[in-house]
């Protein structure tokens, strides 16, 4: 059986894995391998990275049901916070590298552009969830904590809408993420959710 020490290593491993893409992209920029518009390179990669983080976070509950492995639940808060970190860096990249910290322009874009508005709502939502992800908040919120954190489903929808409105010529990449999101959400439908533990029994017997 796994010892606390092994769980700690697992969590550190996940931390390093989630950090690795950021380090890699930063390194690409540093060695001038990120193309003529490095700010845009960071913006787009971090945005997609944040969507991956959100999808991974939301996969942990169905994976736990499917496998009953304790490790998935142990990294749920961490990945949720990574989602917030990626989303924040994505927004900062936009403000810093695309708008050149022109706050007036940021303010006008925030009111005018639907995809920016939707992205900001998603980011604020993630920030609220991040701020209430500690044990103290869980105790304070009690029964209300769970419904509050189900807002992450809405955030996933907002993120996909934000992404959808950016697409210009080909929906393939977006459709792939939308399909994964649909799959992750489908595991939460009561009939599917009930089936997952049974699937585990069948798998373990096989």
């Amino acid at each position: 059986m796994a010892t606390p020490r092994v769980w700690l290593l697992w969590r550190i491993g996940v931390f390093l894995a989630a950090l690795a893409p950021l380090v890699f992209w930063g390194w690409q920029v540093a060695i001038n391998a990120a193309g003529p518009e490095p700010g845009n390179y960071l913006l787009l990669n971090i945005g997609i990275g944040g969507l991956w983080m959100l999808l991974l976070t939301l996969s942990l509950t169905p994976l736990t049901k499917l496998t009953r492995w304790k490790g998935f639940a142990l990294i749920r808060r961490q990945l949720g916070l990574w989602t917030l970190a990626y989303a924040t860096l994505h927004m900062l990249s936009y403000a810093l590298f695309i708008l050149g910290l022109n706050w007036a322009l940021l303010a006008s874009e925030l009111v005018k552009r639907p995809y920016i508005i939707v992205g900001m709502i998603a980011l604020i939502g993630l920030a609220v969830l991040g701020a209430t992800s500690n044990k103290w908040s869980m105790r304070r919120l009690g029964k209300r904590w769970k419904p509050l954190h189900k807002f992450s489903y809405v955030i996933l929808g907002l993120v996909l809408l934000h992404f959808f409105w950016v697409v210009r010529a080909d929906m393939q990449e977006w459709a792939m993420y939308a399909a994964i999101a649909a799959l992750v959400m489908a595991t939460r439908l009561p009939p599917v959710a009930r089936t997952l533990p049974k699937l585990r029994h069948r798998l373990s017997r096989a």
């Binding site: 518009e37 639907p114 010529a169």
Partner: protein, 338 residues
């Protein structure tokens, strides 16, 4: 050494070459002799030393000969310090060409599969002198000119690129349009085997990619049919072997890998207008006052930029080519005809 031609105040090609000479190949050749050593020399100066770091291409002999006979620096920016030519690797490694994918690095990754030799162009529609031409025959009657243009993408970034090509006006004049010809319609190659973007079942574009110009826009001396850039032939990802360059319009108007040029009576529906008419019009003139619904067009990021200097500059009306083209749109509401 590069011998500078008389410095134009603001991209007036007429300052470089008198317009009457410019407009006619035959008269141009006649004019060359009379113009004296200065212009004659400058017309034959190889600009190659400026492109010593540009990888050599694989151009057929006829194209290499055309390029070596280029009138170098025929049009240059009035402020070369501000409008610095982008490095070749950036211009050829970071662009949109949706036939090869949606990421800006996809074209350079995937366009190697495009076969550009042999290539033929159909000239048809309302013309007396149409037909299918090999690219060599198509290019033969005109001298290549090098033109350094600002290219402003509708996505709010821009680069300065030295093109090699022939004025579209000469091609149209040779085709001898009928009185019915009001517009020019262009078509890109359709070949899903060579163009992976055309194989995608999620593509929003209804191939072939189509673009169009009003006849007077097409006849404007600035409008170029490019076959090369940076002193060599076009890399595949930049629209080889034949592309349009309309510097006062957003980049998507400058259609790539052209196989058909038709003179038509009705205004063509260009691909982007077909996809999202509220975002992209027929004219697509660079206009800082009319925003794209999803982003501002007031400024642009001049590339290459760096992380902490986005190199954001004000976008100019008609991309700074107003002196040459503003009269084409006199009396038109450019908010309506975006």
């Amino acid at each position: 050494m590069l011998i500078k031609i008389a410095k134009p105040s603001d991209l007036h090609e007429s300052d470089v070459t008198p317009e009457s000479i410019y407009l006619s190949r035959r008269r141009f050749m006649g004019g060359m002799a009379g113009l004296g050593a200065g212009l004659a020399l400058s017309g034959h100066v190889r600009a190659n030393e400026d492109y010593s770091d540009v990888p050599a291409g694989d151009a057929p002999t006829w194209l290499r000969e055309k390029i070596s006979d280029t009138q170098w620096r025929a049009i240059t920016p009035s402020n070369p310090e501000k409008d610095k030519i982008a490095p070749f690797d950036d211009a050829s490694g970071y662009n949109n060409f949706f036939e090869f994918g949606t990421d800006k690095r996809d074209p350079s990754r995937h366009a190697g599969s495009l076969e550009t030799q042999p290539w033929s162009v159909v000239v048809d529609g309302e013309v007396n002198n149409g037909g299918r031409f090999s690219l060599e025959d198509f290019a033969k009657p005109s001298q290549f000119e090098e033109r350094i243009y600002r290219l402003r993408c509708v996505e709010a970034w821009s680069m300065v690129i030295p093109w090699l090509g022939i004025p579209l006006a000469e091609v149209i004049r040779r085709a001898d349009p009928t009185s019915k010809a009001k517009y020019v319609r262009f078509e890109t190659l359709v070949d899903p085997e060579q163009m992976p973007g055309q194989r995608s079942s999620f593509s929003i574009i209804d191939w072939p990619y189509v673009e169009g110009l009003r006849l007077d826009e097409a006849m404007n001396p600035l409008t170029l049919l490019a076959m090369g850039m940076y002193g060599r032939e076009l890399p595949n990802q930049n629209g080889a072997p034949l592309r349009l360059v309309v510097p006062w319009k957003y980049g998507f108007k400058s259609i790539k890998s052209i196989v058909r040029i038709s003179l038509v009576e009705e205004q063509p529906v260009n691909s982007w207008q077909q996809i999202a008419a509220n975002e992209y019009g027929f004219y697509a003139n660079v206009n800082p006052q009319v925003d794209h619904p999803r982003w501002s067009q007031a400024t642009e990021r001049r590339l290459p930029n760096s992380l902490f200097n986005s190199n954001t500059i004000d976008t100019l009306m008609f991309n700074g080519y107003g002196d040459e083209v503003a009269e084409l749109y006199a009396g038109m509401d450019l908010r309506k005809h975006y």
